[in-house]
Symmetry: C2
Subunit: 313 residues, 2 copies
């Protein structure tokens, strides 16, 4: 395996660009690395939201209306669990449950998360490689004015309501990056690393927090290109804008650039934010603008092409 491109991604927003990239690049050329800081154990099942969103999106079976889960999903189990008085705050569809049952069972029997992801991806028909950032458990903890909350508590149960003061990644210090990622970062074939338009704190930072990732990114010759998840002062989806505000940051592609400036070489921002290009370039980061709001598959492919081009592909 000799990947030319590595895409670091969180869930929905990142997965859209990952899908665009998958349409533009051969399976052997793209490695998609998923944030697993949101992973958690629920009802005895290992749930990996970003990995699954990436798998389902690249397999073409994700529920695009809902933004998560599977298309044409049914909810018989969750409804029955609700009647029994069980926990239903995290909605698991009947078919999605099969993914979690399969993965949890394989992990219990000693498989690594990479192996299981590969097995699931193959069966689902995903041709490109998706790997978790690490085989180890790393748990994103959101530090709020109401104390520390696990990511899912903050994100799903509390609907991002508490004010954020910071984020930490439990277990990151002892984690190793996924072997496939390590090899890809060492490979001379590498032509670029793409940071997908995902939440910088919740989706990108956990990957960067794995020992050796920042160091490797600082060493490689290939450019590191981010795509801003902030468009016109707002996040396309999720709590990114709210979190940036609460952390005293500029809610703009400039704020994103400032946050990522020690990691990235280049950034793609939305056309709507073109006026910020000079200020971003003043930070020493190459910048360009393109349509970054991805509704159709064409949007995703166009942005993927723009990013690849801007990376010198």
């Amino acid at each position: 395996m000799s990947f030319k491109w590595i895409a670091l991604s969180g869930g929905v927003g990142g997965a859209k660009l990952a899908l665009g990239l998958a349409h533009e690049l051969d399976p052997g050329d793209l490695l998609v690395v998923a944030n697993t800081g949101d992973d958690f154990d629920h009802l005895g099942l290992r749930i990996c939201p970003d990995l699954d969103t990436l798998m389902y999106t690249l397999a073409g079976c994700s529920n695009s209306t809902q933004g998560w889960g599977l298309e044409g999903e049914t909810w018989a189990c969750m409804e029955a669990l609700g009647r029994l008085g069980g926990e239903t705050w995290f909605r698991l569809g009947d078919r999605d449950l099969a993914t979690h049952l399969y993965r949890s069972d394989r992990l219990r029997h000693g498989a690594t998360l990479s192996q299981v992801t590969h097995e699931l991806s193959s069966v689902l028909g995903v041709r490109h490689h998706i790997v978790p950032m690490s085989e180890a458990r790393v748990a994103t903890v959101v530090i709020t004015d109401e104390g520390e909350l696990s990511f899912q508590d903050y994100f799903v149960a509390r609907q991002c309501a508490p004010r954020v003061r910071g984020v930490r990644f439990e277990g990151a210090e002892n984690a190793h990056m996924c072997e496939t990622l390590r090899l890809a970062l060492e490979d001379d074939a590498l032509r670029g690393v793409i940071i997908c338009p995902s939440n910088p704190f919740l989706s990108v930072e956990p990957i960067l927090a794995i020992p050796g990732v920042r160091e490797a990114l600082a060493t490689i010759k290939a450019p590191i290109v981010a795509v801003s998840p902030i468009v016109g002062g707002q996040a396309i989806k999720g709590p990114t804008a709210k979190m940036m505000r609460e952390l005293g940051m500029d809610v703009s592609p400039l704020g994103v650039t400032e946050f990522l400036r020690t990691t990235i070489d280049r950034i793609v921002i939305d056309l709507a934010d073109s006026s910020l290009l000079p200020s971003i370039r003043n930070l020493g980061i190459e910048a360009t603008s393109a349509p970054t709001v991805m509704r159709s598959l064409d949007d995703k492919r166009s942005l993927a092409r723009a990013v690849l081009e801007f990376s010198g592909a």
Copy 2:
């Protein structure tokens, strides 16, 4: 709680009589004790086949055609799990899964199996008390000419094909009987113990193997009445007849009586086997015959009445 009747039961056959008894007795008068020797962990879930069959049957939501699981069940999760290459030899319906998820989660959080069964029963609308024979894990192991097999391996995966040489109950020696059962056996209000028409080796024997159960049954004044699961040389359902044959026993209510004779005082056999009444009585066991094949609810209630009457109710 002061129960007048205790019913010891396995799955389907036993549950039919338990339903009849539940229609004839007040909720405060009947304690149904389920065999849990068939329980096992599968896909990380605690599955309790006999407890569930009893709960679903008494709740009126069991699938009577299929003989197990829930009426109107759907199979979206199992089908998806099959596509993923997961284990589907033990069929779990979408709604049934909710029962296992709920129970497994509650057990992990420290609840006892009795507590969880009480919670599930309440929500499902079961008014009578159902308890497991023990809170501890006791696993029925079938000793066959192909070696030892776990119960589910023998019963579901191998479809009872291997020749049986014996049965043992792993963990029974250190198990305690369920506290509700212990108190009920000590209570002077007790008017009878009914051994439902379940497999003597696989469903009744595990309950009797819990330390103290045989001793308590030997001590109580109230009669112990069995209902033969063998009718006309055949079992209504399951491998009872095959097992009896393989163990060199007489496949008849007489064989059942011989097996249970140190435990029971009386037995109800089918009308079709009435000719065996004298031989059974010769063993020192009181015997009567009644229609024991339970198709309709009326059949179940009639047999329940016959058993209660024969016990001196």
